[in-house]
């Protein structure tokens, strides 16, 4: 049972059943990054999927833009406890990118420009659950928020939605990425409050 904090609660925010436990609603778009924001020109940008056989499939920016683009309306939840409801993104589904990829590995390591990594099970990237997103609220994605493109996997805490995404490498095991080595949960389900180790 929690202890009570005398006199706390007069400035409370409205609770919202759409918020996972321990989250609060924000109208801002806060930034959580461990280092400087990389600046990547779309002319130099590429995205690759590397399988266990060593096969590498790469898309340039123009090739990505030529793929079917989806509108995504979703809530997002950061482990630092802010949530945004009803955000709008545009991006390419990972189902599209994985359509011709031959792999039997169950896990992925998502890799970013700047060296960031995060581990996500493959099944959490497929079946309409994840995108390579390049627009937020009708505007090109800001570098601070991961532009030119970030992974968007909104059913997990947002550190899994790697900014400045550069590729996905298939892994046979669920190896920890950057924050997962630095105190954060391997999976990160906001509805189960899987924040930390």
């Amino acid at each position: 049972m929690a202890v009570f904090s005398r006199g706390f609660g007069s400035r409370r925010r409205e609770s919202d059943p759409e918020l996972p436990p321990g989250q609060y609603l924000t109208e801002d778009f806060p930034v959580l990054s461990a280092g400087p924001t990389p600046r990547i020109d779309t002319a130099d940008w590429s995205f690759s999927i590397t399988t266990e056989s060593g096969q590498v499939t790469t898309w340039s920016w123009d090739q990505l833009m030529a793929l079917p683009i989806e509108d995504v309306h979703t809530d997002i939840h950061c482990v630092t406890r802010w949530s945004k409801l009803g955000t709008t993104w545009r991006g390419v589904s990972l189902d599209t990118l994985f359509a011709d990829i031959d792999t039997s590995d169950a896990y992925t390591m998502v890799e970013s420009y700047g060296g960031y990594t995060t581990n996500v099970p493959l099944e959490d990237l497929l079946d309409g659950k994840a995108w390579i997103a390049f627009e937020f609220e009708g505007e090109p994605l800001d570098p601070e928020h991961g532009g030119p493109a970030r992974l968007l996997v909104p059913h997990l805490y947002f550190w899994k939605s790697a900014k400045w995404v550069h590729g996905i490498r298939m892994h046979s095991d669920d190896d920890p990425g950057f924050w997962e080595q630095n105190g954060y949960n391997m999976y990160g389900d906001p509805w189960k409050e899987q924040r930390y180790w």
């Binding site: 009570f4 904090s5 005398r6 930034v31 280092g35 060296g115 080595q181």
Partner: protein, 241 residues
């Protein structure tokens, strides 16, 4: 140091108003496992009807003790920070969980030069690191650049001044009001400030930057432009754009 899984009861031991907007809070947390310099914690408040709110705060203290020190800046639209800055008093209880984060930390086994750059209440984890550096009698070259709106907005100014010595240099940027006689005119931090008042690329320092998002974005970009390798720059940001 292990992370304790559950919530730990803390009692406010001291609450000191140190800036127009902020307070230093000292908590007694008997089960606190200790923390590294630079780590943070989650703080949970529970109202009498069971309503709860949780926020993350950097820790100004470090080491093995069960006394945990925070410095809290009041956010105008905040729900937790106004309570901590205006309402809470010694003897009041709350809960904490942690320590959290193993990246934005400094260990006394580190010997390389370190540049600390803080904006506003972003000083808190850097104070922890500066204290750990002093406590270890480390000879690693340290330099700190602290940007505040005005002198009265600075946290820990007297303590930081006392740290200054052979292995700790302190520089100030005032963005709105500079003290009388201060050489630099008030204004936001610039590339020239960073070139003049931080360790150069040639020293290959590890750089820790903490502050509001806009401040950290600006500073980190300047550091990269000056030639600091991105992997030598650790950042911690708070707040929205």
């Amino acid at each position: 140091m292990a992370i304790v899984a559950g919530w730990l009861v803390g009692t406010v031991a001291r609450a000191m108003r140190v800036t127009p907007q902020g307070r230093i809070l000292v908590l007694d947390v008997p089960e606190w496992p200790g923390n590294l310099a630079g780590q943070h914690l989650d703080l949970r408040l529970t109202a009498e009807d069971g309503y709860q709110a949780v926020r993350s705060y950097s820790i100004a203290s470090f080491g093995d003790g069960t006394t945990v020190e925070l410095a809290v800046d009041m956010l105008p639209d905040g729900e937790v920070s106004p309570y901590l800055v205006e309402d809470v008093e010694p003897g009041d209880m709350l809960e904490v969980r942690g320590p959290l984060g193993n990246f934005f930390v400094w260990r006394d086994s580190q010997t390389e030069p370190v540049q600390l750059i803080a904006g506003g209440s972003g000083i808190v984890p850097l104070v922890s690191i500066a204290r750990a550096h002093r406590a270890a009698a480390s000879t690693a070259k340290f330099r700190m650049l602290y940007s505040v709106r005005a002198p009265e907005d600075a946290y820990y100014a007297p303590e930081l001044a006392e740290l200054v010595g052979d292995s700790f240099v302190l520089d100030w940027v005032y963005t709105r009001t500079a003290p009388v006689g201060f050489a630099r005119a008030a204004g936001r931090i610039t590339r020239a400030d960073i070139e003049a008042s931080t360790l150069p690329v040639a020293d290959n320092p590890l750089v820790y930057v903490c502050g509001p998002t806009g401040f950290v974005e600006t500073v980190a970009r300047i550091l990269v432009d000056l030639g600091h390798p991105a992997e030598r720059i650790k950042t911690e940001r708070f707040g929205g754009k």
